[in-house]
């Protein structure tokens, strides 16, 4: 394992470490194999690859929806490969997830969906009200707080899902095609939000096909999956090198 990357500000610790990780569903073939990489605290990563390459499966491992069938995964310094499941909620509260299919709770309003992580964490109702209102305003849904997901457009649902993922200012933000259902302006604002969170120390991993999105954040590292394996002809897989822009800023 190589040393963690330095992202210009300081030399940052590894927040995620994959060691020879493989994943298969049931008795099928491995959908992920031999994953061996480190994500640094405060890093910004794009995960790319063709459909079926394993991006969503890799994200599931990151946000603890799956355990690897082989190898070790260390998250926030703890080996969670075969940790007791009672440990997982505390770790999950440090991870924000934007699902490709939004995964909003249909019985709850936009407000309650966004408030959910704070309520689960036992935050004070006054703080929740303030934070949720601010977040909904930011994603442009302040006037749709009481709307149920079924009455929201795809883009609005996506924004609610993003607001829910980031409202706790997680240590790790994992987003699966977050701009798939929003217009260019909203995509720009979302990327700005992700960058702002990243600036506050949140490690961001975005799975996307959107080359424009990747291009608009030249400081980010790129991870490419092909048939379940990380492909990196430049040899930067285990610890992606700093981009020229970030090196220049260091």
């Amino acid at each position: 394992m190589r040393k963690p990357a330095c992202a210009g500000r300081t030399c940052l610790a590894a927040i995620v470490q994959f060691e020879s990780v493989g994943l298969r569903y049931g008795t099928g073939a491995e959908v992920l194999r031999d994953l061996d990489f480190t994500l640094s605290q405060g890093g910004f990563y794009f995960l790319t690859g063709a459909s079926g390459a394993g991006k969503t499966s890799l994200l599931k491992l990151l946000y603890l929806a799956q355990r690897p069938t082989r190898g070790r995964i260390r998250l926030f310094g703890d080996d969670l490969s075969d940790s007791p499941r009672d440990w997982l909620p505390d770790f999950r509260r440090r991870i924000g997830v934007v699902f490709q299919d939004f995964r909003l709770i249909r019985h709850l309003s936009a407000y309650d969906n966004v408030a959910l992580p704070l309520r689960i964490a036992g935050r004070d109702p006054v703080q929740i009200d303030s934070a949720v209102g601010e977040m909904l305003d930011w994603v442009g849904l302040g006037d749709r707080a009481g709307a149920r997901p079924a009455t929201l457009s795809g883009g609005e649902q996506q924004r609610v899902a993003i607001a829910r993922a980031v409202i706790t200012q997680p240590d790790l933000l994992v987003a699966d095609e977050p701009t798939g259902n929003v217009d260019a302006e909203m995509a720009r604002r979302l990327l700005h939000l992700f960058s702002a969170l990243n600036g506050l120390g949140t490690t961001v991993v975005v799975a996307t096909h959107d080359l424009g999105l990747i291009a608009s954040n030249p400081g980010a590292e790129l991870m490419r999956l092909d048939k379940g394996a990380l492909v990196d002809p430049t040899g930067s897989l285990k610890n992606p090198p700093l981009s020229p822009q970030r090196e220049a800023g260091a």
């Binding site: 946000y63 603890l64 929806a65 799956q66 355990r67 499941r85 009672d86 997982l88 909620p89 505390d90 999950r92 509260r93 997830v97 995964r103 909003l104 709770i105 019985h107 709850l108 407000y111 309650d112 408030a115 959910l116 992580p117 309520r119 689960i120 964490a121 036992g122 935050r123 004070d124 109702p125 929740i128 829910r164």
Partner: protein
């Protein structure tokens, strides 16, 4: 702050609120109804058996064969003078023939029908039955001392067996109610699987998730238990002759005491507690199978 407390601030609708799961409510209502009626019947049987056994506990009969009926006065005197005999009286032959007449008709009055003489006696607790029988036999060798409770033993045995049957039925109903709750809980988990996955993904613990479903199952159980109790109450009141039950008597014959009524009222509460505990067990067990 607990999750439940935080949850009351506006997100009670995570699971569709205010809607009872009708099949669960109906099943629990029926089972509560049957449990209450069967338990009431069991208690009534217990009380009846106790009353019958208590009534004949110290009662005996001296039977003198028909051929020896002229010796009745001597036997009666021997009984009355025996230690431990509180009261003794001969049953008049006319009364016995009148009793037999219910089955035999006119033939009961015939002098050709031999009728034994009977002396009923009540003994003090601890009285020596052997000594009393010996004293009577010294006067009338063919006389026999019979225990009334001995005569009623098969009936009392049947009543006790019925009590056990009632208890077994109540326990079976409880087991059936628990099974219904398991099925309802699994159904609720299937219905809300996506919600559970989202909640888990956001960091909800099993206990937090379980609490949400427990509350829903408990509300269904309360509704079912109340409905079943009301229905059973109406049936018991009608069967017991209305006010007779309120006065402490069931079916105008067998009393249900205050303790019995208190026990019956605890049964619906037990159904609710059982349903909630079974739901929690089922939920936690099912959630443990997920990551």
């Amino acid at each position: 702050m607990t999750f439940a407390r935080a949850w009351t601030s506006g997100a009670e609708g995570l699971l569709p609120a205010g809607k009872l799961h009708a099949p669960t409510v109906a099943l629990l209502a029926i089972m509560t109804f049957v449990m209450l009626v069967v338990a009431a019947a069991g208690l009534a049987l217990a009380n009846a058996a106790g009353a019958v056994a208590g009534g004949v506990e110290n009662r005996y009969v001296v039977e003198i064969p028909a051929a020896a009926t002229p010796d009745l006065p001597r036997a009666l005197a021997a009984v009355r003078s025996a230690p431990g005999v509180r009261a003794a009286s001969a049953i008049p032959e006319s009364e016995m023939r009148a009793t037999l007449g219910r089955w035999l008709g006119e033939a009961a009055s015939s002098s050709d029908l031999p009728v034994p003489a009977l002396v009923t006696l009540e003994l003090a607790p601890g009285a020596d039955q052997g000594a009393i029988e010996a004293a009577v036999r010294r006067q009338v060798p063919s006389a026999r001392l019979l225990s009334e409770s001995g005569e009623l033993r098969p009936l009392l045995g049947s009543l006790h067996a019925l009590q056990w049957v009632a208890l077994a039925l109540v326990l079976m109903m409880a087991a059936a109610a628990a099974s219904a709750v398991v099925l309802a809980t699994r159904g609720a988990l299937d219905t809300h699987r996506t919600t559970i996955e989202i909640m888990h993904g956001i960091g909800a613990t099993d206990a937090q998730l379980s609490r949400l479903f427990e509350r829903k199952i408990a509300v269904d159980a309360i509704a079912g238990a109340v409905a079943g109790t009301v229905a059973a109450g109406i049936v018991l009141l009608l069967a017991g002759g209305g006010a007779a039950v309120l006065a402490g008597e069931l079916m105008s014959i067998v009393p249900l005491g205050a303790l019995d009524l208190a026990f019956l009222l605890l049964l619906p509460l037990a159904v609710v507690i059982l349903a909630t505990l079974v739901a929690r067990w089922t939920l936690l067990r099912a959630l443990r199978e997920t990551l």
